[in-house]
């Protein structure tokens, strides 16, 4: 029955409204409920025509109220909208936006990861009399209207790996990629390929993916969103959110909750509004390009008008991305730029690009991200200083170009020639002289008095007592800097005492000579970052740069100014990142340090910028680039998307540097988690960890909270990360410098100055 269907639909709309407003009392909701109740009561008695009349009236009332309620939506209401099972999801988009599609990679539950959906789809376009199908690769999270096996769009690492695979396929087939982001965050498991490491890999590949990428944000939860969100055009749905962390997570951190306690709804509501997660906020901050208006209270599967709009926007965005770099475009490019409104469908443009156009596309994408989040940091350098810095950069680049490319290449060629000649000469000499020498040796057999004397000397050295003046005894500490903790007269016990029976350690010994390493089991006690700066990186002789770039509070997050000032005062730093040039065993390098004492080593806009500048500097000077992570808790949540955007930004910088032929080496210490590991740290081909460090995506509390699994206490230990394949070696603290030098000699690309 038609009337019954209409009534059911009205009921659905009412429950939807109630869910969205989380049972907040509101007059319009009450009115709607009362009216619907009334009609339901009289439904039986009414004749068909009157009922239909009544239904028309109440439907109009619903439309009106929805429009009115739409203006009252708080950020948390929007979060509830995108998570609601009635919200349209990727399958609906595939059905209604594209003209045809084939899902790739499984049916329903029978899928490597049902939360990640891949499809080949096309738009059918009419150009003159011809019909043309424009192929795209659709990649996105599928929430499946509340199907449990989809995990609400939380993608497991292998799901992201699948996404990456099909991005590469799109690159090969030269078709655009449309990504749809419907995720509250990535599913935090460490098993290969690793939640963090796979996101890092995705970002790294997307940073230079040779295919136009258009992404649409509905629910953009931090790392999970970034895994497929690095795009040429980023559209956002007006009722969506894009955030560094779920409001619940932020509230749990804010409230200092532990062990499964739930934050109060008020606090969550407050965090949601403070984090600036709505489409408008993100548009204002420049992290998305366009907002697509949804119907009041969010798009649901029956809003066909919205899908038409989305289709138009997608075609328009793809056209824009393509026309920017295409060489043969003429009038159409202008038309694309002009047609912000209605006739995107009328312009046809081939979406496959030549290789030079693809290179331009990648360049543009990288430049686009490079220019983001300028407002979210404070650069203390004056106008003049900045000008000098830019000039200096240009000079270095030219200098390196001439020295290592123009002249260096010639010199290398010459050297190689001389080397060859020398080897030839050596062989000839060897061939000629050896027989001669042999005959002489045979004729004069007693010709070996000298070696005997030498061995006597050696024996003497080996057998006599060692004397301090020969440098045979250790005098004083071998460390340039020792921790102030070593001044304390007390003992502490090693945490491995139960298994390894380590004796108690006297603190002056432990933090002095032993460098914080238990001599009996090798447990590494956490050490100050100063120790590494002084003993490994020679900070005193180094040249620090960009010291003036300062962390600020871009969202005016409540009470954060105070905390930031405190951190600045306590550490004497202006951000958690220290960047400097130094030489390690006479190899000049650029080093970026993330230090844990400054807000947990979290990464915000200032840290990201410093890191990018360091990577660029290393690239210009042809020097190796070392990231020493003394500790990082993740992205600084108080900066909101200003923080999370550093994931793609820094990864792009790293990608550019590695592609230019550098050596990017990451060294983890103490605890490294979340965003940075899932982007610019985790993408390095050379990652090492200091013993006893922890590396992971989410901490144990978050894993238990989101997956319901309790994990072993040593789940994130470096040795586990090593056996999972996330890192590539574990170093002893006392040998870090030696190992670094060894790595500088054995690893890295073609463009290092000492190669």
């Amino acid at each position: 029955m038609d009337a019954e269907k209409r009534i059911q639909r009205l009921k659905d709309r009412l429950t939807y409204i109630r869910d969205i407003f989380a049972n907040k009392e509101d007059n319009s909701v009450r009115l709607l409920a009362a009216k619907l109740e009334e009609i339901l009561g009289r439904e039986e008695a009414m004749p068909g025509s009157v009922l239909s009349e009544e239904l028309n009236r109440i439907e109009e009332l619903f439309d009106f109220s929805e429009r009115k309620l739409d203006t009252l939506l708080s950020p948390m209401d929007r979060v509830r909208i995108v998570r609601h099972p009635q919200r349209m999801c990727l399958k609906d988009i595939l059905e209604n936006v594209y003209d045809n599609y084939t899902e790739i990679g499984g049916r329903g539950e029978f899928n490597i990861d049902p939360a990640m959906l891949i499809a080949r789809a096309y738009f059918t376009r009419k150009v003159g009399d011809r019909i043309i199908n424009q192929m795209v690769m659709v990649i996105g999270q599928e929430k499946g209207h509340g199907e449990a096996f989809r995990n609400g769009g939380s993608v497991k690492p292998w799901g992201n790996a699948k996404a990456l695979h099909y991005m590469k396929v799109a690159e090969t087939e030269n078709i655009p990629v449309h990504t749809f982001i419907f995720t509250p965050g990535a599913y935090p498991v460490e098993d290969w390929p690793g939640a963090a490491q796979q996101i890092a890999r995705n970002l790294y590949e997307m940073a230079a993916l040779k295919a136009p990428v258009i992404s649409v944000f509905s629910e953009g939860g931090s790392g999970g969103a970034e895994a497929i969100g690095l795009a040429d055009r980023r559209l956002m749905l007006s009722h969506g959110y894009y955030s560094v962390i779920s409001p619940e997570g932020a509230a749990a951190i804010e409230g200092g909750l532990r062990g499964g306690d739930r934050a109060s709804p008020e606090l969550i509501e407050k965090c949601a509004s403070r984090l600036c997660i709505t489409a408008e906020d993100n548009l204002r901050n420049g992290y998305i390009d366009r907002v697509l208006q949804e119907p009041p209270l969010g798009a649901r599967p029956n809003h066909y008008e919205f899908f038409r709009e989305l289709r138009r926007e997608l075609i328009q965005a793809t056209n824009e991305a393509v026309s920017e770099v295409k060489s043969m475009k003429l009038y159409r490019a202008m038309a694309v730029r002009a047609s912000k409104s209605d006739d995107a469908e009328s312009i046809f443009m081939r979406w496959n690009l030549s290789s030079s156009a693809l290179n331009r596309l990648v360049e543009l994408r990288q430049a686009k991200f490079r220019n983001m989040s300028r407002h979210a940091r404070f650069d203390g350098a004056g106008f003049l200083k900045r000008g000098v810095a830019v000039t200096k950069g240009a000079i270095w680049a030219t200098h390196s170009f001439f020295r290592y490319d123009v002249l260096g290449r010639q010199k290398k060629r010459l050297d190689a020639m001389f080397e060859d000649l020398g080897a030839e000469a050596h062989l000839v000499r060897h061939k000629l002289l050896m027989p001669l020498k042999k005959t002489i040796d045979k004729m004069l057999p007693g010709n070996n008095g000298e070696p005997l004397r030498k061995s006597e000397e050696a024996r003497d050295k080996l057998t006599r007592l060692s004397c301090p003046d020969d440098g045979a005894c250790l005098v004083g500490s071998e460390w340039v800097w020792t921790s102030p903790r070593s001044q304390e007269d007390r003992t502490i016990s090693c945490p491995n005492v139960r298994t390894h029976h380590c004796p108690d350690l006297w603190v002056p010994d432990l933090f002095g000579d032993f460098a914080g390493v238990c001599p009996s089991c090798g447990h590494h006690f956490p050490m100050e970052y100063r120790w590494y700066l002084e003993n490994t990186f020679g900070y005193r002789e180094s040249r620090e740069f960009n010291r003036q770039i300062e962390s600020v509070n871009p969202l005016n997050y409540e009470q954060f100014d105070l905390k930031l000032d405190k951190a600045k005062k306590n550490t004497g730093l202006k951000s958690a990142c220290i960047t400097f040039e130094t030489s390690i065993e006479s190899v000049d390098t650029v080093v970026a340090v993330l230090c844990a004492p400054f807000r947990g080593g979290s990464v915000g806009a200032a840290e990201g910028e410093k890191f990018i500048c360091a990577a660029e500097r290393a690239g210009r000077k042809r020097q190796p680039f070392i990231a020493y992570v003394h500790g990082t808790a993740g992205i600084r949540i108080q900066e909101g998307v200003n923080g999370v955007i550093q994931m793609p930004r820094c990864t792009i910088a790293v990608r550019r540097y590695i592609d230019a032929g550098g050596l990017y080496l990451v060294l983890y210490d103490t605890n490294s988690y979340a965003g940075p590991v899932a982007s610019f740290l985790g993408c390095s081909p050379y990652q090492f960890a200091v013993q006893s460090s922890n590396i992971g995506f989410a901490g144990p509390g978050v894993i238990t909270e989101t997956t319901g699994m309790t994990i072993a206490p040593d789940y994130h230990r470096a040795y586990h990360a090593l056996s999972r394949g996330h890192i590539h070696g574990i170093w002893d603290r006392r040998e870090v410098k030696k190992n670094l030098h060894q790595s500088l000699l054995t690893m890295g690309g073609r463009n290092l100055y000492y190669r």
């Binding site: 007269d489 007390r490 003992t491 502490i492 016990s493 108690d504 006297w506 309790t710 072993a712 206490p713």
Partner: protein, 215 residues
């Protein structure tokens, strides 16, 4: 010969184990304020990662270490007279009465009564065909083993070698591994009991299973 009845009576007379916590090393003792009769928890958590109830702390060289309960039970005695004083290593500090669980009692009885033949290495184990046949046909209490009898096949990395029994003669009372299971080194493979005690042991275990009341 072992008297099972006597053993059981002994367990029944004192259905708990007394755990005496000694000072692991010298230091100044500070008790956590427990009284005799208080209940304490042992290690908990899926991975035994949460330490037990704090009993006392011992400070040596400004290094304060906590002493926690190893098992759940009841505080029997606390030497409060030592509070704040310096003790030598090995000084008894707290006594905990740990009531035995059903599983522990059975284990205790079987440990006394059975001889456990343990896996010499990590491998899969099979009975030799004759023994296997006999076990299948007439049940496991029908196989007699004696010193030097080759009764098992050790299968590891596709190499199969026979394994001889060593230990007192008797009947196989229980088999602790399944077909095709990989058994770790040192895990018990079979429990052997003297022929004449078979019925007694079976009886006792059955009685414990049904009658033992856990705390």
């Amino acid at each position: 010969m072992l008297n099972i009845k006597e053993l059981l009576d002994k367990v029944k007379a004192s259905p708990y184990r007394e755990i005496v916590i000694h000072a692991p090393h010298t230091g100044v003792v500070e008790f956590a304020g427990l009284k005799p009769g208080d209940r304490v928890q042992g290690l908990t958590g899926d991975y035994k990662e949460k330490p037990g109830t704090l009993l006392a702390s011992l400070t040596r060289e400004k290094n304060k270490k906590s002493i926690t309960a190893p098992e759940q039970g009841q505080v029997e005695n606390i030497r409060t007279e030592l509070e704040g004083s310096f003790v030598e290593a090995g000084e008894p500090l707290v006594t905990i009465k740990h009531y035995l669980t059903r599983k522990e009692v059975i284990e205790l009885v079987l440990q006394e009564a059975l001889f456990l033949f343990r896996a010499p290495e990590r491998a899969k184990f099979y009975f030799v065909p004759e023994v296997d046949q006999k076990l299948k046909v007439s049940g496991k209490r029908s196989v007699k083993v004696h010193e030097g009898m080759e009764f098992l096949i050790v299968s590891r990395m596709k190499r199969e070698t026979p394994l001889a029994y060593s230990g007192p003669d008797g009947i196989i009372y229980s088999v602790y591994f399944g077909r095709g299971d990989t058994v770790d080194e040192g895990e018990p493979l079979i429990g052997v009991c003297p022929e004449d005690q078979l019925t007694v042991i079976q009886d006792v275990v059955a009685r414990i299973q049904s009658e033992w009341e856990e705390e």
